[in-house]
């Protein structure tokens, strides 16, 4: 680590001779330190799930939430610096409200993603600012468009996904998700798999405690983005705990 | 404005299309009578405009504190705006001075708040009843732009002009040629207030349905309701 950068990493407005913008890569490191965040798109619903690492027992359970509502049927999950994330959420809400005011309908997630990623990208261009240390997962569901899922990275690049992950165990979560067939997945399967993946990728040795957080948008939630909705939340936690116990007993053998 | 003045023959006051009036008379009457250690204030519960009765159970007495009640009628939207402003200001006073506003202070404040809108008045008839700092009953009455007068009895609102002479006679003892005005006992004050409303309901179409009567004493505020003509 000590040899990298070598003077080219002090500003987001300068390339290094080999064509990298170090500030963006450092922002990526901030994301890698964060608890794992996943989003998965099923047949008729979409789920966001978060491994919220508990840094102190003194926090309330719902403190420092990483899943936010942006509009009726749009949710955002944040991996990385929470304060940066909240700011991005605020921007997203403004964009959604602005769209609503102009067109009297909910902003399509594709357009919201474009707006927010343009904003994130702008923060990678100037020496006066630093890039956002967040990876943003946006999810929506509606009758016409069905489930939609996008991820924006600190560089400002964004893509649509069937399933995506960010944070500590991004790779591990992606490996797990590649085993699944999302296109025909029901809401029940979706939340159970979300629970499984988050509980499986949680590293008990490095972070003892975590709080499972998830949100769902589907017909069953009346098309609304709902944080920790019942009964799905319990289903996810049960599936997660079961998967974890299975893993633990494998290790014992 | 200045541009117009350079063309004197075209000097016109501007388009004066004005079929919207911000004011509306919603009727209602108030009677308040103060005694040595009590004050009675009553208001009817009819809210109307023209020949239309909107509701038959609109309370027009606003309890501002343990010792002060404001009766407000006239343009109902102004009443709502004014009373919520008074409440807000009284809360600010309480936070700032850590005590409740005295009746005298409320009376003065009300006058100022109303005069603040001198050129676009609150179109309301206010009667403020309460106990003063010595515990004596007191009545303040106002005109729409904040003129304030301290009295011992007052009728206001749509039947105010109808009822004031009745009170002059029954409470003020104006018919008697006496130096010392008779002290009015509470029971008499209540009866006169009720009778006044029964009479007002006979002749004033904007007063009726029922009357709410509040009695303020050092022991607190009691309330009773008497039914009136509903036609």
């Amino acid at each position: 680590m000590s040899s990298i950068g070598t003077g080219y990493d002090l500003s987001a407005s300068q390339f290094s001779p080999d064509g990298r913008v170090y500030q963006i890569e450092y922002a990526g490191k901030a994301v890698e330190m964060s608890g794992t965040v996943i989003g998965m798109r099923g047949k008729d619903g979409i789920v966001l799930a978060v491994e919220k690492i508990v840094t102190s027992q003194l926090y309330e359970d719902d403190a420092a939430t990483r899943i936010f509502t942006v509009d009726k049927n749009i949710g955002i999950a944040i991996a990385g610096l929470l304060a940066d994330g909240r700011y991005i959420v605020d921007i997203a809400r403004q964009e959604a409200a602005n769209f609503r005011q102009q067109f009297e309908r909910t902003i399509p997630l594709k357009q919201l993603t474009e707006r927010v990623s343009a904003y994130v990208h702008a923060y990678t261009l100037y020496s006066a600012v630093r890039p956002f240390g967040v990876s943003v997962i946006l999810a929506s569901w509606d009758e016409e468009q069905g489930p939609q899922l996008y991820k924006i990275e600190p560089s400002g690049t964004s893509f649509g996904y069937f399933a995506c992950a960010s944070g500590k165990a991004e790779q591990q979560a992606k490996t797990e998700m590649e085993k699944l067939k999302f296109a025909e997945m029901s809401v029940e399967d979706l939340v159970q798999n979300a629970g499984k993946i988050i509980y499986q990728v949680h590293d008990e040795l490095r972070n003892k405690d975590f709080h499972f957080e998830m949100s769902l948008i589907s017909k069953e939630t009346k098309g609304l983005h709902r944080l920790n909705p019942q009964p799905w939340y319990d289903q996810a936690v049960q599936a997660g705990l079961a998967a974890k116990n299975e893993d633990d007993s494998d290790n014992e053998i | 404005m200045h541009k117009i003045q350079s063309f004197p023959e075209y000097q016109v006051p501007g388009a004066q299309h004005q079929d919207f009036s911000p004011y509306e008379s919603n009727g209602g009457s108030i009677v308040a009578i103060a005694g040595e250690d009590y004050v009675v204030i009553a208001a009817d519960t009819r809210l109307s405009s023209g020949y239309t009765i909107h509701t038959r159970k609109q309370n027009k007495l606003f309890q501002l504190s343990e010792k002060t009640v404001l009766g407000s009628t006239g343009c109902w939207c102004d009443t709502l705006a004014l009373t919520s402003l008074v409440n807000a200001r009284m809360q600010m006073y309480e936070h700032l001075h850590l005590k409740t506003m005295s009746t005298e202070a409320v009376a003065q404040m009300l006058s100022i708040l109303m005069y603040n809108r001198r050129f676009f008045p609150y179109y309301v008839s206010n009667v403020l009843a309460g106990l003063d700092s010595e515990g004596k009953g007191v009545v303040y009455s106002y005109d729409p732009i904040g003129h304030c007068e301290r009295t011992t009895y007052r009728a206001g609102g749509s039947a105010g002009t109808l009822l004031q002479p009745v009170l002059d006679n029954q409470i003020g003892g104006k018919d008697k040629d006496v130096k010392n005005k008779p002290k009015v006992p509470l029971e008499k004050a209540k009866e006169v207030a009720k009778d006044a409303f029964i009479s007002a309901a006979e002749r004033d179409i904007y007063t009726g349905d029922s009357v709410i009567l509040k009695v303020i004493t050092k022991d607190g505020i009691t309330e009773e309701e008497v039914q009136l003509r509903k036609d």
């Binding site: 983005h225 | 117009i4 388009a15 299309h17 911000p22 509306e24 239309t52 509701t55 705006a81 807000a88």
Partner: protein
């Protein structure tokens, strides 16, 4: 907070008026001093919305045993022209609140955009706390009073209903900000035709059942259709109970034209 007009401040009192001053709302001038902005005309005088253009007629609201119902027909008129004949004029605001609007429909649509944005912001808090009907009612009185004080009214007469802490709530607000609550309220023509019909049913202090309420509203809509030239036979009903809110309809009123022997085609 998320709107370009600055009425959505979430911080308490920030950007708010000093007591006695007025709140700013879309369509109001930003820098109005207390007296100056109310009446001062532009150099050639100013014309404000001193009469409504596209209008809805009566709205009727009743409380019943465990809830509130608001009905209005589906017509928005353009003067005497029955211009838009399939428009909802009663709405669900959230699970606790319903609203019905008569008067200038454009004014209402603009106001409703603001209300809807408030509801989205409520959801963003993710605390499952919804705005209650009384809050919306009071907010509307302040908005309407503010606009009437600038002699630039929102030409509306609205009925707000819903469940307030388990109890039915029903209120009425008009273009001046005049507001009152009652067990039955109506706007426009409904005040003259529908109110007596409902009051007749509850005169002995009896509380209507849900069925009775929808029956009496149906009767009201029928009478209004017969006598109000700005009414049509199609109407919708918004219902609020402890279980939530729903907009039902459109329904057709019962019609009996047997007396009108020469008239065909109904």
């Amino acid at each position: 907070m998320y709107s370009h007009n600055n009425i959505f401040q979430t911080e308490l009192w920030k950007g708010g008026p000093s007591p006695g001053q007025f709140y700013n709302f879309p369509g109001t001038n930003y820098n109005n001093s207390n007296t100056g902005g109310f009446t001062a005309p532009d150099i050639f005088g100013s014309k404000r919305s001193s009469s409504p253009i596209t209008t809805g007629t009566s709205v009727i609201g009743v409380k019943f045993d465990g809830g509130v119902m608001i009905a209005a027909d589906n017509l928005v008129s353009y003067g005497s022209l029955a211009r838009y004949q399939d428009v909802q004029r009663v709405f669900k605001i959230n699970e606790k609140t319903i609203i019905g609007a008569g008067g200038d429909f454009a004014d209402f649509q603009s106001l409703k955009r603001s209300i809807d944005q408030k509801m989205v912001e409520d959801m963003c808090y993710q605390d499952d706390i919804d705005m209650k009907p009384k809050s919306l009612y009071n907010w509307l009185t302040r908005i309407l009073y503010n606009r009437r004080s600038r002699i630039n009214p929102l030409w509306l007469e609205m009925v707000v209903g819903g469940m307030q802490d388990g109890e039915p709530f029903l209120g009425h607000v008009d273009l001046r900000g005049r507001a009152y609550e009652d067990d039955v309220v109506a706007t426009g023509f409904g005040k003259h035709f529908a109110l007596p019909l409902v009051r007749e049913q509850i005169s002995n202090g009896e509380v209507l059942t849900l069925n009775q309420a929808s029956q009496v509203l149906r009767k009201c809509m029928e009478v209004l259709y017969y006598r109000d030239c700005r009414a049509i036979s199609k109407y919708s009903v918004a219902v609020s109970t402890a279980q939530g809110t729903i907009v039902q309809g459109p329904f057709e009123v019962n019609q009996n034209w047997a007396l009108a022997t020469m008239i065909k085609g109904y």
